[in-house]
Subunit: 456 residues, 2 copies
């Protein structure tokens, strides 16, 4: 499909020549995301303001042409791949921090602001915005909101749904609207803010966000605990989360992932049956008792060694290794299947044991690590060739069935995109999916926003 | 209107004789709520299980008869008054705590469980559920969810939207569904859970809730600070919230309210220009530094006295007086107009000053107190007769205009109900209201759920 001359004319009336591209080079550059799936859009636009997004959606709606919002394409589910063509809307030029308001613990930003740039701007004020995906330096806040993307700190500070006060957006109808508040509390009508967060650009395009800020704790301490095997580490996670001191990070890394991280991070990363990285934060006077409480829970059958990181360098090396895990797996399998299932924390031991069994039964290498404090594990299947890839797909269905049987769900922070759509009926009742489809129609009557995503 | 014989027959097939009433006495008993507005329903039913609610909504939908969910009627906005008749669904018999799961920090409850009963059941496990309306001993969790009702602790721990993982419900279509998760994180489709919370029974009837629990801090300390006038106290609130230690309660009480509280609570309640009650909680080792940080912020121009409550009795008396404020106002005005506006915290000084001016200009007594840490003030207009009542209504419109001009919104925790519907266009754009109406239609195509509420 190519865009009709009348639609192109509308687009040219809205966007300057350097903000609208139909050339093949740009279309290819915006055809894929970190899922490595790809499909060519018919055009790419770079809005600089809300009004342009309204005009764009209206024009595309009149021609029934798909509109695909895009942050920086760091998502892993194909959520920003234009599978049915249409116009990709890259928000990279709407990247202004409009207001930092420490007195009211809020910031107002455009969607293209990078997560890492925002954190740097907030730091001098003593605040941070909790969502911290591994891709923070190069992913956008708008993308974080679209996917409800989180990261290690969510265990204590929550995901974007818990850290956003209000939004400005353009619905699939072409209408601009504001929802939410500038206040930390509100009961004025339906919560459209949280409805948009995690909707992956299928309901509306976010053009402005009012974010809830959190005071930055002045101190942090990092512990590492190594265990005989994954089951012992998973049981320790459940014990840590059952006591009152909530860590600000509680990361699990299995034996296979440790080998990868060791290769990348060097000797500061131990080789063991499994490792937990545990961080506690707060005021300096509170940390000794917090470390003691968490350490007591971390001890138990199967613990090999528990130690507090001795220096900023050691802490830095542990985190660098943890952050390198996702890209490092590409060295084994360019076609890794990257999942982020989540179960209630007490079911983590059953999940990690079950995954080891599925890995053996299907003869597929699986690396497991992630945000164990939320029960949120990255279960990465690493097929090395086409034959293994078929086995991996069969294995994946079993992984999801295991997760659902343990009261879990398909995604903790990556979202559904293209890749998990077909599994949605495993996680949600038909009536729930039906309501989600009705909500979609309410916002996007002609189904032009990011077609082929999220809903099966 | 009376119910048709065929609908009555359907209801009798679903509900035993002691769970269905069409007698006048019960209909009157369920005709009003704490707003003191009233309208007779045609019948009252007392479901014991989800399936009965599904059958009820289907039957009523077939006859286009209104269905009004009811917790314990403690709301102040008329949200549970059956203004168009129909069937009131009282959830008082669905009051079981189905599961307390400290390992996963969650509880599963039926909607009729009283907030206070839940807290008592959780205490031995070392957990609590943060929402704590003044009516906690006699209000239901279902009602708390329907109204997004909060209370003093929300300043640190959030409202129901931040403390609920998942729901089971019946939409206005008659379809039962589950939404949300049993996990502390999720990105599997649209967030219908938060959409239902605060929707005041206009989208669906909640039949089960999975609540997120928080570890109960082992220690708490209460401070009281008195100020020369309301402006000085409001400026102190803004200072307290701009520093990193977040209190677990930060209540503001103005001079008029202090007189009322003094009359009720005795000498432990001071008479002053304004008072703040400040609580900090945490592990014992952390409290000295927390109190010091908060106290430093509370000091400033206009402070009369700052002291830490010296005993459990003194703390108890302060809270008893605070809790008695709402009922005590009835002694002045049986027709009090009870608002709960909210503004960004730094705008509190402008809000309280503006309200004093409006009180003088319209010659209406106004009592102001509430959850200042969230910028959420109960602005209660106390007309003593019909003439004053008319002046109060004119004043109220000016109060809302003031709030909106200060980036605030109509309600922090009471919701909209009947009383604030007409003011919704002040707070929300026409496009936002239009989307809310479309969402309503998606859940409740025939508009039978709680008609005449929330949306103008």
């Amino acid at each position: 499909m190519t865009l009709s001359p009348t639609l192109l004319e509308s687009l040219r009336a809205t966007f300057a020549p350097d903000a609208l591209s139909t050339g093949e080079a740009e279309r290819i550059a915006y055809s894929y995301d970190n899922s490595r799936l790809h499909a060519l859009p018919d055009a790419v636009v770079f809005p600089a303001e809300h009004a342009q997004v309204e005009a764009l959606v209206r024009a595309c709606r009149a021609h029934k042409v798909p509109v695909i919002a895009r942050g920086r394409g760091s998502n892993t589910t194909g959520a920003s791949v234009p599978v049915e063509g249409g116009v990709v809307v890259s928000f990279e030029r709407m990247n202004r921090i409009l207001r930092i308001d420490p007195d009211n613990r809020l910031a107002v930003v455009e969607p293209g602001v990078l997560n890492g740039d925002l954190q740097q701007a907030l730091a001098p004020h003593g605040f941070f915005w909790p969502p911290d995906p591994t891709s923070a330096p190069w992913c956008s806040v708008g993308g974080n909101l679209a996917c409800n993307a989180a990261g290690p700190r969510a265990v204590k500070y929550g995901s974007p749904r818990e850290n956003t006060l209000g939004l400005r957006a353009v619905a699939g109808s072409g209408e601009g609207f504001r929802c939410g508040t500038y206040t930390s509390k509100g009961a004025t009508g339906y919560d459209l803010t949280r409805l948009l967060i995690g909707s992956e650009g299928t309901l509306a395009l976010i053009t402005e966000a009012t974010l809830k800020l959190t005071p930055k704790p002045s101190s942090v301490r990092t512990l590492r605990a190594t265990y005989r095997d994954v089951g012992a580490a998973a049981r320790a996670v459940a014990r840590i989360m059952a006591q009152p001191v909530t860590p600000c990070a509680l990361e699990f890394i299995d034996d296979v992932a440790l080998k990868l991280a060791h290769a990348h991070g060097g000797d500061s990363v131990p080789l063991a049956g499994a490792m937990l990285m545990i961080e506690v934060d707060g005021e300096p006077a509170t940390l000794d008792s917090a470390v003691a409480a968490v350490a007591a829970a971390a001890r138990g059958d199967g613990l090999d060694e528990l130690r507090v990181a001795q220096s900023a360098e050691e802490t830095g090396a542990l985190w660098a290794a943890r952050r390198a895990l996702s890209p490092a797996q590409r060295t084994i399998s360019p076609n890794k299947i990257n999942e982020d299932v989540v179960v209630p924390v007490s079911h983590l031991p059953a999940l990690v044991d079950g995954i080891k069994q599925l890995s053996a039964r299907h003869d597929v290498l699986i690396v497991t690590f992630g945000h164990a404090g939320n029960g949120n594990l990255h279960v990465n299947l690493l097929p090395r060739d086409e034959v293994e890839r078929e086995r991996a797909h069969a294995c994946l269905a079993d992984v999801f069935a295991l997760v659902i049987s343990l009261e879990g769900t398909l995604s903790g922070e990556h979202g559904i995109g293209m890749i998990k759509r077909e599994f949605m009926p495993l996680a949600l009742e038909a009536s729930t999916l039906g309501l989600m489809r009705s909500v979609k129609t309410a916002f996007d009557p002609d189904g032009i926003l990011n077609p082929g995503k999220l809903l099966p």
